[in-house]
Symmetry: C2
Subunit: 197 residues, 2 copies
Amino acid sequence: MRLLREKIEQEGIVLSDGVLKVDSFLNHQIDPILMKEIGLEFARRFEADGITKIVTIESSGISPAVMAGLELGVKVVFARKRKSLTLTNNLLVSSVYSFTKQEENNIAVSSQFLSQEDRVLIIDDFLANGEAAKGLVDIVNQSGATVTGIGIVIEKSFQKGAQELVDLGHRVESLAKIASLKEGKVSFVEQLEEVTS
Amino acid sequence: MRLLREKIEQEGIVLSDGVLKVDSFLNHQIDPILMKEIGLEFARRFEADGITKIVTIESSGISPAVMAGLELGVKVVFARKRKSLTLTNNLLVSSVYSFTKQEENNIAVSSQFLSQEDRVLIIDDFLANGEAAKGLVDIVNQSGATVTGIGIVIEKSFQKGAQELVDLGHRVESLAKIASLKEGKVSFVEQLEEVTS
């Protein structure tokens, strides 16, 4: 998605070989016009799949997910992150390790918002090692619903998450794929569909 | 806003005289179509005010804020909630007490996303005692920007927040105003503009 790639080139800050900061349009400040375009692109890629619900995770997944939900005409559920869980009644819970924060968190979704009949699109802002996405897949699986696809705004393709999710049989659609952040520079994976479009 | 009021009547769950749960369309599951209507209504109410930025707070403020930002053509910054703050470099921080959770939290916004010239619309999902809104006002004031208005999705008018913010000189626009949650029933404040519209 060219618009997103340009935004990353213009405003992304490479903090290290592994960390890209996009606080100016996605993770702290949000650009609503870009989010709308992202929602349209997710809808375009998944519109044939009979999606009935989108599942994401707070906080940065919410904007792209809600815009995609608006286009696809489905509701969005965001998983909550919680350090500890006392009450787990009616909650679907999974444990997610954050490499950035080096801590384990629980993520939780109320079981009432997912049913066996649901065809779920999982959306998240970043895909690196895939911990959050796998936690969301786990929650959807617990509910008996079907994971129809995984939509990612920015994939760090040099980390293992995307390949692992594909190996598990999931369709992963990432709107920007980063090949490397070495030497302070963002290099994108060549995407044939964009070169030819 | 009639659509929102109907949604609250249909799906809101009164947990006690003080607590209304709207997890099915705002606080856990999100209804994107309703959020778009909410964004349009905020834009209608504040379009003459020269808003340059919206400030909200994670996580439930994000959807209505981003939809309002889309309509008003401005970016949205969401304050992050943090129990402890180690690094406060370049952060505008305020302390917010949660009556629901009975704990004090810090909320923080990077100073780079607010400037003295900004005319800020603060948006949040609920207004009860006004702690979160006052924390956001504090952060905007620290930046030197101007708080132009406060837009709230659901105001619990029987609690003190709205009146306190008005007494401080702020314009508060709440899309649904709840007079009482007694006896398990949601009663709305009569809103002349809706009765006559």
